[in-house]
Symmetry: D3
Subunit: 192 residues, 6 copies
């Protein structure tokens, strides 16, 4: 079985992209060593690409009450529920690195209730999953539960917004058949 392509849609040459996109994309491999396919697959539509990464950076790179590892946990748990192969594999890798934990990503992807996480993180993921799967049922009681775990209202917005952004991202990845880079599968697993 030969491997599937990066996307069901044509993937542009990095060299031919507008400068802002090219610069942003080429900055990634300095840290990661490769260009994640999401940068290429979504570049089929530059305006949407810019909006997506602006949204992504506003939520995933910001300071706040959630650690960067916790933000990735939200991505991995909700992407698992949405059966998004790209997001589980790619953000699983980032979660392993940010949490300095080679096990937690696979645990969270399959069943976060059984993962090696704190009760506070469990409450965070319960809410992220509710946003992802049954947002119509969100009620004041959910906020009370999260505040009781020490989350500020700003933290709660972060949880919800990350879950909501990846509701979009999961659907675009599933729609384009976005292929995870092979490098992600092993990243952060060997602890070195």
């Amino acid at each position: 079985m030969s491997a599937k392509p990066v996307s069901r849609y044509p993937v542009p040459d990095i060299a031919g992209l507008p400068q802002d996109m090219r610069e942003r994309i080429l900055a990634v491999p300095e840290k990661a060593g490769f260009v994640p396919n999401v940068f290429l697959a979504l570049a089929h539509r530059p305006a949407e690409w810019r909006a997506f990464f602006a949204y992504h950076d506003a939520l995933m790179e910001k300071e706040g009450g959630l650690t960067k590892a916790e933000r990735e946990m939200i991505v991995v748990a909700t992407s698992g529920a949405n059966q998004c192969q790209y997001c589980v594999v790619a953000h699983g890798a980032i979660l392993r690195i940010r949490a300095k934990n080679p096990l937690v990503a696979d645990q969270v992807a399959v069943n976060y209730r059984e993962a090696d996480i704190t009760p506070r993180q469990k409450a965070m993921l319960d809410f992220a999953m509710k946003v992802s799967r049954h947002s119509e049922e969100i009620a004041e009681a959910d906020f009370e539960t999260l505040r009781g775990q020490g989350f500020s209202d700003d933290d709660i917005w972060d949880i919800a917004a990350i879950s909501a952004l990846f509701a979009l991202s999961n659907r675009m990845a599933n729609f384009t058949g976005m292929r995870p880079n092979e490098e992600f599968y092993l990243m952060g697993r060997t602890g070195r």
Copy 2:
């Protein structure tokens, strides 16, 4: 029963917003006569606000094989399935105006299969709903069906991306308890 507030979160004063946001927001009432609450509720987070509206405009205001009314149909149908009150009421109004049809929005919101739409639009909404609810099952056969209705691959991306963006939007509106402006309820109903 007193009316609920615009959002569970504080809503900023328009006057105090950064200039780019203020200009964009104040341009809306020139056409609509009022500021839709989504502009206020999401302004709690300026960076996310900018990304959201950049994404929105890239998909909803562009040229292409889908009419503007058809784009709104996608929003209304998927928002109905996600039980998003703000999006059904606000985009239902825009759909009525863009389609010059006072009936179609309520029909599509409840059950698009029974709406007064063309078979091509029915196929468009079948796919938008699959993206919204079961994106993990998208397969080549879905593309074939849409091409058979005359949609280009670029049109198909538009359908999927609008459905995906409102997967995000529905969740943020449900999370913030975003209240539809009262003006939306009657817009486009009297046809005059």
Copy 3:
């Protein structure tokens, strides 16, 4: 797209109906100004028609602890969940008129949890939805919750029976492809 017919089945001439049906049907326009299509679509089967409207009147026109607007709320909320276009549009109109509220029907149809209703009405709709969607799970605790909101056991029967009757009605409307009269869409929206 031309409009769909009133029903997938032949619709009888009012003039040719038995006198009791004709009288009942012709009395409606005196108040509403038109004959709602449900009277015509179901008249394909006179015996069932008589039973349906007898059941309907026994529940919707009776005195009791529920206001007439609250009875319509039950219809609109459960019909929204069952994706019944006819019942949401027609009973949405009646709800607007009976509640003297141009907004509440659209709110309840999409997501009653976010509607401008009282906590007592929210509890009423929670139970109506349980009857409609998961009646096998009804337990004593549900009765206790409702009694705690001031509902009598007779009120609780009304809630359940209205939800149950429209479980039937929604299915017949979906089956016949029953078309809402155009007049319903605007009724009760302009406050006059």
Copy 4:
């Protein structure tokens, strides 16, 4: 464990009921040998009782393309899916008698797809289940399938209407906790 009562609500004395109800109820034991509890449980509300049994008789006792056993199959299959104990037990008994088959009711209640029924009856139950569980998805193709099995449009209405009536009946039985008479459990099983 003592047995549960006939209904969560008070059950009237037959002697004290209005004459039309009393006559109808007392006529049943002449054939069956006992009064089925549905007559008592629903008699808590005489107007609804009359409408229910008028509806019931219009569908279950009429002539037409469906045999009486086939009508009961529809009841048993959909009531099984709705987890209605009263309807499965009581109509299971009637199905055994009308089909002169001691096995078919238990088969249909658990999984009609594996029951000893004809392909035509299988198609009938497929449609009855769609009406019961996903009526919003009914489409022309369903009618074509049924016509292909020899059902007339009038037969199709019968299938849908019986499924819809028992959508109501199942909810009322689950709501009242309606208890099946003990006599039903053995009826029609011994072939005499």
Copy 5:
């Protein structure tokens, strides 16, 4: 409609089976009077047959805090939810006999919440159903609930393991189209 065969797969002659299987199978009719079809249908694969009945006997014939009737209740309730005709009919018969109660099996098969069982048995079946349908959500709170009803941790394992074994059994019976022996339908119903 002629009756379906015992299995979609060939059923071996008892005489030709290995001695251990033959002895085990022939011992059954001494008590029951006939060979239940599960022994024949699964004998298509002797190694799996041996493992299955070893597992079955380890759970269903052991001593412990659950009565044999309670073990059968777990089978009947979960098999009803999984729509397994063979298991509901065959184990319904065994439940009637072991509980010396001609009614409880049909009640539990359709809706155990409304069956004539004790609150302790209701809690047992709530947990068995969670294992069967949502085992990913099992949490410490479930154990606390069961201990509060007097179940030991060993009893809780029994509940879970019986539910899990019949998750396997229901799928094999549905896959093979396993036909219940006619004798089961009447067993335990006449109180002798």
Copy 6:
């Protein structure tokens, strides 16, 4: 967050187990280098342990039309759907080794439809998932589809039986909170 234990239940000392269990368990590390926790967690119940591993070996170690890697694919895909952390992590490792493919297990666990597998394997997993999630809907057409992909009836039994056995296994692992050994996470990923 400290790691969770191997099981919610006590785990026996290998030294104290009956000789047949001890021998079987101690044979595993000769190949794998460690004792998988499933051997310990289930050893809480020796009779069930013996039946489980007899069943397992009968299906997973046999010759036949399915490769050993394909058998593991079935386990990983269905265990992902059942959110069984132990089975996804442990059998994901075995799948990587047996398929000599470091990527396929993560792909299949999240969404087998998007995995690098053949159309024949896709059909195999479609059926395995149907057995796992909707076995009540299995019909002759499913067999025809599989035969069209070159599967013999014996292969089809293998697919169904593996899916059914892991329906049991997933539930026991979720029930006991079975913890995957840390060694599994990295096995088969580095290609050595």
